[in-house]
Amino acid sequence: MLKNYIKTTLRNFKRHKSYTAINIFGFALGMACCILISLYVNEELSFDTFHEMSDRIVVVGTEGDMWGKMRATPYPLADAMVEEMPAIEKATRVSITGDLLLSDTEQNFVKIDNAKYVEPDFFELFSFDLLQGHPQEALKTPNNIILTPSAAKNIFGRSDDLIGQRIYWQRSDTVKVLQVAGIVEEAPANSTMQYDVLLSYKTRPAAARDISSWRGFSPHTYGLLTSTEAANSLSDQFDELVKAHYEVSEGKEPDQSFFSLPLEELHLSELSNNSGFTGNRAYLYLFGSVALFILGIACVNYVNLATARTSIRVKEVGVRKTLGAFRTQLISQFLGESVLISISSYVIGGIISILALPYFNQLFGTELHWQTDISFLLWLLLVASIIGVLAGFYPALYLSRFAPASVLRNKFKKGSSASWLRKTLVVIQFTLAVILIISALVVYQQLRYTQEKDLGFDGEQVVSVRLPNSTAWDTRENLKDRLRGYSSIQEVSIVSSMPGGFNLRLGYKPETISSQVKTDSNEPIIFAPTVVDYEFLKMLDIDMVAGRYFSKDLSADRNQAYVINEKAATALGWMPDDAIGKNVNFREEGKIIGVVENFHITSLKEEIEPVTLQLFEPTSWSTVGNLLVQLSPDKITNGLEIIESELKEYAPSQPFDYEFLDKKFKAMYKTEFRLGRIVVLFTIIAIIIACLGLYGLSAFAAERRTQEIGIRKVLGARIGSIVALLSKDFLKLVLLGFILAVPVA
């Protein structure tokens, strides 16, 4: 029987090629989108699950009134957790140190991006394989370093026989010697813990270790639970721990607490380092629903075409029923047909997705691989079959319903219910398509806004370079003078923080800033401070709103003056003009001499923050600063070469990294631009599938109305009026879809 069904189905496909092609191609496109998005979702959900004890590892963070939730924790926390919390079996610290300059020869330093200080327990908690070296010993002694094969190749040109080798580490003005203690496998792409090199925790400078302070927050702390059930008692045990180590006044809540979350949930939590489309649950839902939208549109095509073609299939239904077929047998035959279509589409969609995966990765900024994992493929096959059943269910019920007595004597009249359903589905389909089109337009409009929005400063042709070391910062006036001597350089400014790179925030209670502050709130105000120079304002073309900028002629400006932005004035309850001349104390006393217009210091997505500008460097700061250079538009390459050679004077072996300020801001929107392109792409796919279905329906309608068209032509109808007649019905439906979609979108 099954053979008979399959034969009938395949021959039916062959006889109605265009119908089958529309269905399979539409489904396959939808499936390809679904497969790719499933790969992405699967990858996102698989983060950190590869650790053997992943279900028992928790990430611990600090929650404070002032800062909210953060991953930095006090140094003593890890030990205290093991000693005082019964739920914790082990705990380990990891500190991020960012990029390192390493070399095997004391020259030609290579920049290694991602370095972490880790403790000996590291390999006991996390399942990263140590390819060479001893997991228990490698991290016990200071100045030990473990390399990934790629980092090793970068530094030594090879990755074997390196245990015991020396590595030179340039840290601002000094060079430290490290010893290779192991080679560790590269962290998998679906690990939140990423590294190029691991340093033994004891290598970390003692000051930064801050071993006894419960008030300093730096290392990330990971805990290993005694059992998965122990997670329930963590919260209470943390409360006890806070009580034991912080002084809490009677009747008051402690101003900070600790929280934990399972490692497996870290990637999609607010604490993860979101970049692009990874680590953000919202994108998971967004792309998941887009995939379902598209698949829904493809299913609608199937239902529409299958029910529209009823007149072709009813004879078969009549014959089979006459010969003794039960309705259930016919239903399973038709369901089988739709499942066959969906499975063929799955195979073709699979091929499309394999071919499209590199483009998908480029677009999504992901590194997904086609999963050869059989369970994943079977799972997709199951989904494809379910989709086949869902799409085929109504057509199967509808077709199998006809009584043989009427259909075999050609008395069959198509039911109005199916035609109503078809019309409704076309309307839904186009409503979905129009919603996607409108969403795409909205996304594009927002992107244009970010492009056209005034940043508050002019960053064109301004290149920014991080100074190589503190010597360069300390002698910055000389460096500026030298650079100004070149014709390809128009203006030079050296600042501690620049737009797009304000890393420091300081909070002050209003009453400590000034007695004349006009704000009722006693909450601390967070400022973004930067040390600037006389040229900063002119170079970035930032306008003054009130007062004046720093002047070389007034010596008081050098160490007792502040310029703030409008936002800072507002935060302190002052109009820009009122602020001028006010005595303030931002760690050091001074007078406000000017207010500048607001400018974006991070991305456009963030609100403008209060900013303070000053010429002097507070004693407590340690910065190496940034060099901003405005280049002549026609001599950009030459200008860059000059900057490079000047900076090499300070640190010959350091690589030269530069960024154009306007491009840096644009780069912050990389994700949004990608999102825009993705939405447009999916919209196009959805429209193609919807149009395919509509084409199928209208071609079929035209075929069935051949006689009517002939009669009309005989009676004198022109081609135009016939085209209008045939298009009218469908145009009405598409228009209705549009009208419905606009308010929804």
Binding site: M1, N4, K7, T8, R11, N12, R15, K315, E316, G318, V319, R320, K321, T322, L323, G324, A325, F326, R327, Q329, A403, P404, A405, L408, R409, N410
Partner: protein, 229 residues
Amino acid sequence: MIKTNNLKKVYTTDEVETTALNGIDLEISEGEFCAIMGPSGCGKSTLLNILGLLDNPTEGTYQFLDYEVSDKSERERARLRKGNIGFVFQSFNLIDELTVFENVELPLLYLGMPEDERKEKAEAAIDRMNMIHRRNHFPQQLSGGQQQRVAISRAVVANAKLILADEPTGNLDSDHGDEVMKLLAELNDQGTTIVMVTHSPHDAGYAEHTINLFDGQIVQEEVEDGFHV
């Protein structure tokens, strides 16, 4: 084999009631060749559908092989039809996607017969109609007469006791029509009961029992040994 009593069929469409059959009393014995005649719309095909268990009567009783079947569900009727009743239609009603062999094999498939047996029976039935050389052809590749021969093969393949033929020669020229009628007569000679709806007095001449319908009622009934009015 067939016995109906006061059989009525009323169709209700758009609030209009149409009486297609109005009090049909009929008896057809096993081995008979019965022709049902009458003008268009007199209820011939409705009667054939009810006799063939494709439809239920609105009123009255129908005994098929001594079973009362007038109130049976679609599923039960389908079960009774299988293997007992074969159909031959004016427009052949072969499935276009299936070959001659597959079309003939279909009733046996629904009877759940094993493949070997199916093959043997289907080939015998096709051979009986002299169509074995066309066993792998599709219906569109055959002439009308050939298609009807395939349809007859399909009707007899499961050894049906009753063959219902609805204007079997209506779409054929006279030569092919005669050929089909001879085949039916031959089957009847071999013991199969045949009930045939026809417009053609020539075809009706093959039958030994003729029923004339008008407006849903039997107006004349003729059996070889005399008249009933």
